[in-house]
Subunit: 414 residues, 2 copies
Amino acid sequence: MVEIAVMGYGTVGSGVVEVLTTHNSSITKRTNEQIHIKYILDLREFPDSPLAERFTKSFEDIIQDPEIKIVVEVMGGLHPAYDYVKRCLEDGKSVVTSNKELVAAKGAELLRIAQENNVNFLFEASVGGGIPIIRPMSQCLAANDVIEVAGILNGTTNFILTKMIREGMSFEDALALAQKLGYAERNPAADIEGHDSCRKICILASIAYGKHVYPEQVHTEGITRITLADVEYAESWGGVIKLIGQVSRQEDGRLQILVCPMFIPRDSQLANVDDVFNGIMVRGDATGDVVFYGKGAGKLPTASAVVADVIDCAKHLNARKYLYWEEGGKEYVADYLDRETAMYVRLKGEQPEALFKQAEELFGQVSRLLRKGAEEGELAFVTPVQPERQIIERLGLLEKQGAQLLNTVRISDF
Amino acid sequence: MVEIAVMGYGTVGSGVVEVLTTHNSSITKRTNEQIHIKYILDLREFPDSPLAERFTKSFEDIIQDPEIKIVVEVMGGLHPAYDYVKRCLEDGKSVVTSNKELVAAKGAELLRIAQENNVNFLFEASVGGGIPIIRPMSQCLAANDVIEVAGILNGTTNFILTKMIREGMSFEDALALAQKLGYAERNPAADIEGHDSCRKICILASIAYGKHVYPEQVHTEGITRITLADVEYAESWGGVIKLIGQVSRQEDGRLQILVCPMFIPRDSQLANVDDVFNGIMVRGDATGDVVFYGKGAGKLPTASAVVADVIDCAKHLNARKYLYWEEGGKEYVADYLDRETAMYVRLKGEQPEALFKQAEELFGQVSRLLRKGAEEGELAFVTPVQPERQIIERLGLLEKQGAQLLNTVRISDF
């Protein structure tokens, strides 16, 4: 019998309890051990729950109980999750979490503490919900140098973009629908501003390259500026707009990492990842492109990933999994303005034809894009690949010629 | 330092040596151990290889060397691979293999011997080449009941079908091209007759449901009967033809498992898996659909999966991974004729309109399919879902009415 505690009884926490209960016999068979929930930590009361007597409001009950070997942290947020997790690890308890904010901010430190105390700190559910990605990346792809990771990491924004692309819905209407369906929170900033994707690409980058990338090091743009005009231009270009988290390593060892909407060609494996689904592409030097696809969120998918980690901990109570990365550093992430990219540009001006000629002079070959129902004076084109800094300078020159810049979107290279 | 031996220096074996050599420093970092190739077993000689002095023609050198802790079996075929692997495991050496024929035929027995000797028997590379699938299924999805697994498991046939679909190439021409490009063997039977896919779905079924399924228990059809007419009808139906391995569990606990071409709707995540790529969909009760996509074969992808297993063995020299399934049994697989399916039917007759009416009378609602350039007397339709046995009986009645049955293809339910 392995005694565990679950901290947080929200959507994921109640899902974890449900999965552990409904799959009890198959899990016991796989683990050769019974997993027993001894405590559930939540400040609220659940008198009608069949597990009512296992609820506690005090973390001390958990930390001071030597029988507890594994603690599941599904409270979310940095505080008090960080302190609780740290104390558990220091006390020799393994921790499983779905908390991407915690892992993205404190992963290296918590992994080091876990190592020092010979326990495990696992977080498969923190990226991609029920899609196995953390373990495949750290184990199966261990014999590869990772060239690039790029993914659609947030289901809410992907749902909104899918509605805009497929049904011509406006951003505002699509967001309202996502909120109505429970996909987006009342305060949707973490999703639509890209912060959630940013945390996830930080975690993937840290695993792929062995060194922590902190969210504040990542240039992050959300989807709030994307309009139906951009969606239509993407279609005329031959693709779709997706919110992408991407990381690759430069020759000097520093990372290029960013989160932003991108134009994705229609034949990319990520172009067909629609609705609330996530898709993550890992490009290895030996294995080539591998894509993982599935529901990136939701109660049961996320809970099943948490429970799989709990099973793994229960099987390895006295052995360390080799998930590990070092602390990062200030110089580790390169300036995103030095990154080379092609760029979609939408602008308007009184003399769009003259502006197009000037764009051609500034950028060399540019591909003009057209759409039905374009507004008067509207001009859209795609620049050749060049450092982003240079694109911005050149667009500044166009603005001096009377162009009013409406939007820019990077073109993906996958 | 962990000493290993590599048995077989063909495509995969030389790839394993290459990956271990080129990624030596990153692997050492991940493993905290140096992995050293002490022997390479091959009957041929490689005097120009930098590792020439490590080659041996005698298995006895390997089995009798107590320093060898991990043996890589990449010879392929059942004999002598089976005897060698068995002896290694019995001798307390962990074994990593890419040999799907071996795992599909002897997996349960070899896993039991590995367990009895407290060593590991790993075979990530046996399915999906470089795509992580064995480990995610056995670990990450451990908290799920698997409802269904369906996959495009063979790159050669997928390449041939893609050429037929995209370029209207005949089966024979596409096969010749695949051979020219090195995707298909001179004797392509194992691929085009479905045997390779059959071995792989057996392995996935054994993992998913914990009990061995043997290839001879699986109804297997290849793609040799697929014509361009079928490809065109699939398109008019709204999809594509793919060679699918599929398994699900019936309510009585027995498995429905088969390998055959299927009509896949265009919006299925497997419909866009083209060329030599593989795609595997795992439907879990908690996690929903998860899809794994990548190159299912090739020297370096397969080798990198083998090396990842070697790393895992090196990290777990004294700990067992919990990959395991029981021996199967005769009654474990249900008769495929009892499986319910919709069926595409192509036939011809002197009076196709009369035959269509009779088909409607026999089957109830049938959907007629049309194509440009149909031959005289040709008729194609899709039946409603019903047990396959019943479809065959009814088609028999149509044949008695003068229909000449040209082909049938099952319709997928994913």
